[in-house]
Structure formats: C-alpha cells, structure tokens
C-alpha cells in the first residue's frame, strides 16, 4: 500500500525542491479526488436510499465529476510535463472555484473569504515562496471585482489579511526551503565524507592486499623453510621451501598441529624429545638440530607478539627450518678426521715419550746430567703436545655431541692424590707450592666422572702453574651446601685483566698480549673445562686481580651413592 502510494505520489526529478513540490501537489490532488469520490458516493447513496431527490444532489455529483476530471488532467500535467504549470492551473482553478462557491456577498466580505487563504498558503508551498503574494493580489482583485459588481466597497481588512497571510506563508515557506537547503548541503557533505572514507578504506585494503602479497612473495622466495603456528600450535602459514625439506605439501601442512609433525614417522625419535621440550618449556631455541628422514634440519623458533595490543600479546610461534644436512656431514667428517688424526698422532708421540724415558732411566747405560736433562725436555714437550691433541680431540667430540659423562662412585681424596702425582713435579720445578685440602663435610665417596674431574683439575692447576711465577697454588675440595660440592683452585699468579674475564671460557681464545707467545697453546683448556662442567650440570666461576692471583670456583651437584 505504502509502495503503491509512493509510486503514484512521487515524481523523480533532478531538482529536489521540484520533486517535493510536485509530491505535495499530488497529495493534494489525490486528497481532492478522494473527497470528490466520497461526495459522489454519498450523494448517490442518499438518492438511492430516497432520503433526498436527485435534483438536490445532481449539482454536487456533476461538480464532483468535473473536479475529478480536472484533477486527473492536472495530475497528468504534474506527472509528465511541468509541476509549475500544473500547480498554477490547480491554484487558479481552486481560486476560481472558491469565487463561485457561494453568493457574491459572502465571497466578497463574508464567510467564504477564508477559503481564499488556501490558494495563498498553497502557492508558497507549490510554487515559490513569493507566489503567495501573487495569489493574495489575485484573490484581492477577485473579491474587489465581486464587491464592485454587487456595488459594495471592497473589504480592505480582508485584503490586508490576505497579504498578512501571504507574508506569513512566504516567511515560513522561505525558512522551510532554506532549512531543507541546509539539510541537503549537510547531506551532500556527508555523502562526500562517506565517499572519501570509502575510497580511503578501499585504498588501505588494496595496500594491505599488496603488502600481504609482497610478504607472501618474500616468504615464498626464502630458501629456509618457514612454518607459522598459532597460539594453539596449529600451522597457519608455510612457504614452498618447507615442502622440499619435510616432503609434505603445503596444503597438507596448513592446519596440521605441531604434535602431528613431531609424531611424524620421518622424525628421528631422539629429535622428538627436543621438540616436545621446546613446547613444554616455552623456549625459543636457536639452531638446534633435528633429524628428518635423511636430512638434518636446524630449527630456530621465535614467538610472535602483536605489539598493537596491550602487553604485547603472544599470538603464535614462527619456526624457521634450515637444511643442515651438508653442514652436518662436513662436521661429522671433521670430527672423525680430528679423532683419527689425534689417535694417529698419539701413537708416535707415545713412542717418543717412551724412548725419552728410556734415555732418562739409563736403560742402555749411564747418562750424564745434561743428557738426562735433555731427555726430560723431550718428555715435557711431548707431554705438552699430547695435552694439546687431547684438547683438540675433546673439543671435536664435544662439538659432535659425542662426549658423554660417565657417573660412578669416586673418592675425592683420590682426585687430589693423582693430582699431586701428576703435577707436584711441574710445581716444584718452578719453585711453587702445590697444596690441597678436603673439607671435613665432604663425603668420602660421591658420584661423579672421575676421569673428567681429573682432567678439569689437572687443566686448572696446570694453568695456575703456567701463570704463576712465585707463591703457591691451593686446591680445596669442599661441600658448599646440602646439594652441592665444589672445587677451588687458587693461585698467586699474574691474574687476568678484568676486560678479559668474560671471554676466558670461549673456545680458541687466550688473554691478549705477551702471554700468547710466552705460554703458547690453543686456548682450548678453559673452554673444555667449562663445557665438561656444563655436561655434568656444574658451573665454574672466576675471580681475578692482576698481579694478585686468580681463583676458580667450581660447583657440582652432590649425589652420594
């Protein structure tokens, strides 16, 4: 119904004011038409019910029919030609109709005067605001002519009233129009804003799409395999490189959970534990290795934080896989090479050592002092060479992850005894005192790797002897607390500059300066000590003052067998 009304009432034009006026005219026309139909129906009804005679109503019926036809014509003009002309015709007809609707006396200065206010007011609405003055003039002329025709004086107050009404109509129509105009301006501005916003949004969406496309392109061209996991460890993104590494197509990889990947048959069982540990402990490892089928992959994980949100919410993890197969093979070859070389070097060195000892022991006849001294020097240098080879071998094994710790019950006192057996002579050769003590609290037997502890102890004490010119080297075994025991090696040597302290446990590093030339060596000793202790779940700390001495403190977990 509403749609039907809208359709017959609304005329779309380019000018919104025109549209509005023509719509109002249509409403008026339809209203008049309805009134006419009602009038005809009632008139015919009362005739039909014999309440009154046809002669009394015929005028009303005919008048209504004529009006209806007029309304139809005006409606057609309004709808298909011009709203303005239709409105003028309608208003003129209305005015003329009012002029003859009553006796000339009533029309000129009686009860029908008010009827003329209708076209005056409507003119301002249907035409232009000032049209009300035109119609008030027209109406004034009409009532004046009628008044003169019946020989009365034109009704001046009525004429003034018409113009006052016209003024009010003009003012209200004008303000209505300006209000509507403002509204339209506001609407137009609003439309402009909407258009601008929409454009901006489209542009930013485009930009985002381009950016996303570029990111995907970057991801696709990275040689490393990349998988992005969400907070629940489901894969949300992956790049083509990962397909080659894992042998799983991207589409199968997406939405796969990390657990499924870990349980994949190609993953070596020993690698599984590492990956599970990574999830459980929420660590972000860098460069640990896993074995995937024939491949060795190096994994680095990093959590992704959304810095737009508060507290930098963690939104997932990105894992980068690097094919390490070739490097792993080279490393393995290297460590095998070092192991073989070390073994092959050790045998002839053992022979040199043995022959030198035989000289010293005068196996083939007595030797003079100088000869014995020379044999001793051969032995000492050979021992040094052997020590270096041992260090290299240990380092190679540690790098290959082959060096393991063998825990068995041991007696701390034995460690000290063999230490003295091995190094007393070196100390006394430099006129240094090598003293040792065991804390009473330390159990007589405890669990540890005797060979490796011995190696650590010899290494530290050897270092102390090397860097101490006078005074003593003091070794102390002690119980630090219920769960730990420790080893202290303290000397009165030249000390280590504070700037070098942070680096002394690094592989292949010696304190810079003259020491390198004086003492030689690869600088592997302390690095090996540190790594061995890490393997034993222990730790080592160092305090040192230049020219006052150095103190190494080792702590180890205390397990009593």
């Amino acid at each position: 119904m509403k749609e039907f009304l809208d359709r017959i009432l609304t005329i779309s034009t380019a000018d919104p004011d025109d549209t509005r006026r023509r719509r109002i005219l249509n409403i008026l026309l339809v209203s008049v038409a309805i009134l006419c139909v009602i009038a005809i129906t009632i008139s015919l009804g009362v005739v039909f019910l014999s309440i009154t005679k046809w002669e009394n109503t015929s005028l009303i019926v005919l008048g209504s029919i004529v009006t209806l036809v007029g309304v139809m014509i005006v409606y057609l003009i309004n709808s298909f030609w011009s709203g303005r002309i239709a409105a003028i015709i309608f208003l003129v007809l209305l005015t003329v109709m009012f002029s003859f609707s009553d006796s000339p006396m009533e029309v000129s200065s009686g009860r029908s005067l008010f009827a003329f206010t209708i076209p005056i007011i409507m003119a301002s609405m249907l035409l232009v605001p000032w049209a009300s003055f035109v119609f008030s003039t027209l109406c004034s002329i009409i009532i004046s002519i009628i008044a003169i025709s019946i020989q009365t004086i034109p009704n001046t107050p009525a004429i003034i009233g018409f113009f006052l009404i016209a003024l009010v109509a003009w003012l209200s129509a004008r303000s209505l129009e300006s209000a509507l105009k403002e509204l339209r301006t506001i609407n137009a501005n609003l439309d402009q804003v909407v258009i601008e916003r929409t454009q901006a949004l489209t542009q930013s969406l485009d930009r985002e799409r381009i950016e996303a496309g570029r990111n995907q392109a970057i991801l696709n061209s990275i040689a490393d395999g990349v998988i992005v996991f969400d907070k629940k460890w489901n894969a949300t993104m992956a790049n083509p490189a990962i397909t080659g590494m894992l042998g799983i197509p991207i589409e199968l990889l997406i939405n796969k959970s990390f657990h499924e990947l870990i349980e994949h048959t190609r993953l070596a069982p020993q690698s599984r534990g590492l990956l599970y540990a990574m999830i459980e402990h929420d660590t972000q490892p860098v460069g640990f290795r896993i074995e995937w089928g024939e491949k060795t992959l190096s994994i680095s994980a990093a959590q992704i934080y959304d810095n737009r949100k508060e507290n930098n919410t963690n939104i997932g993890t990105v894992i980068v896989f690097r094919d390490f197969t070739r490097e792993a093979e080279v490393e393995k070859l290297k460590s095998t090479f070092v192991a073989i070389i070390s073994h092959e070097l050790r045998t002839p060195l053992n022979a040199i050592l043995g022959y030198a000892e035989m000289f010293k022991e005068a196996v083939y006849g007595p030797m003079n002092g100088k000869q014995v001294n020379m044999a001793e020097r051969i032995m000492k240098n050979t021992q040094r060479l052997l020590g270096l080879i041992n260090d290299l071998l240990d380092q190679a094994q540690m790098e290959a992850g082959k060096l393991t710790i063998h825990i068995a019950p041991l007696k701390p006192a034995d460690l000290l005894e063999s230490l003295h057996g091995l190094l007393d002579k070196s100390a006394s050769d430099k006129r240094l005192r090598l003293t040792s003590e065991i804390d009473d609290d330390l159990p007589e037997t405890l669990n540890g790797d005797a060979a490796r502890l011995q190696q650590i102890l010899v290494n530290l004490v050897n270092n102390s002897i090397k860097f101490t010119d006078q005074g003593e080297i003091r070794v102390k075994l002690l119980r630090t607390d219920d769960a730990k025991w420790g080893i202290e090696v303290e000397d009165t040597g030249q000390g280590i500059p504070a700037s070098e302290l942070p680096y002394i446990f690094d592989t292949f590093r010696q304190v810079e300066g003259a020491t390198t030339r004086v003492h030689g060596g690869f600088g592997l000793g302390l690095a090996i000590v540190k790594q061995l202790l890490t393997l034993m779940s222990g730790d080592i700390e160092v305090e040192s003052n230049v020219n006052a001495g150095t103190k190494f403190t080792i702590t180890l977990p205390l397990v009593i067998p």
Binding site: N350, G354, E361, Q383
Partner: protein
C-alpha cells in the same frame, strides 16, 4: 724360569718400548703385531703370565681377543693389561681386565706395575 709376557701391539716402536720395560725387570717377552696372529698364538703354546693387549689391532680387535682369553680356562690365572688410546673404550672393558692403561703409556709406569705383579721369589 722367568715369567712370560705376551705383548700384542701393532705399533713396532711401542712394542719395543714395552718389551724393554718388561724385559728389563726379568720378564721373558714375546711379541705379536696383529690380531689374527695373536688369536693363533693364544690358541696354542705356553700360557703367558702377563698379556699386554692393545685394543686397536689389525684383523681381529683387542675386544674379541679379550673375549677369547676370558672364555678359555687356560688363561684363568693370566694377568691382562689392556692398552688403548681411547679412555672411553678403557672404561668399557675395565671390569674384564686386570689393568687398563690409557696411552700415552709411560715406560716407567709400565715397568713399575709389571715389577709389582711379578711373584716374589
């Protein structure tokens, strides 16, 4: 009659040093330089008082020879000293041998140990 020491060692220099160390304190020394020859030697002939066994040998490994020795009742009383450059391997066989010596082996050390092992007459 002096005690027989069997040196199973593929490196000639080491074998000669060991032989000197043991011979010097009165052992009668016999040397085999290869795993399969050692296997042959162990199968027959005089049972040695002391066996100095290198773990790293051509053809038959020291570990296999050690098994042969352990399974043969004739060697029940024989003293076995293992020699190896690999400390880990030494640990592995520590229970099966009387002594394990990690290379480099000192002439003096071997001489002193072997001297202590000799029965006092």
């Amino acid at each position: 009659m002096s005690e027989l020491a069997l040196i199973i060692e593929d490196d000639e220099d080491l074998a000669s040093i060991f032989a000197e160390a043991l011979g010097g304190i009165g052992y009668e020394v016999e040397h085999v330089a290869d795993g399969s020859l050692a296997q042959e030697r162990l199968g027959s002939g005089t049972v040695p008082f002391l066996i100095l066994l290198d773990m790293h040998l051509p053809h038959i490994s020291g570990g296999d020879l050690l098994n042969t020795i352990k399974q043969d009742d004739r060697f029940e009383k024989a003293i076995v000293i293992l020699t190896t450059a690999d400390a880990r391997m030494g640990d592995m066989y520590r229970d099966q041998a009387d002594f394990v010596m990690i290379k480099p082996i000192s002439f003096v050390q071997l001489r002193d140990i072997a001297a202590r092992l000799k029965p006092k007459k």
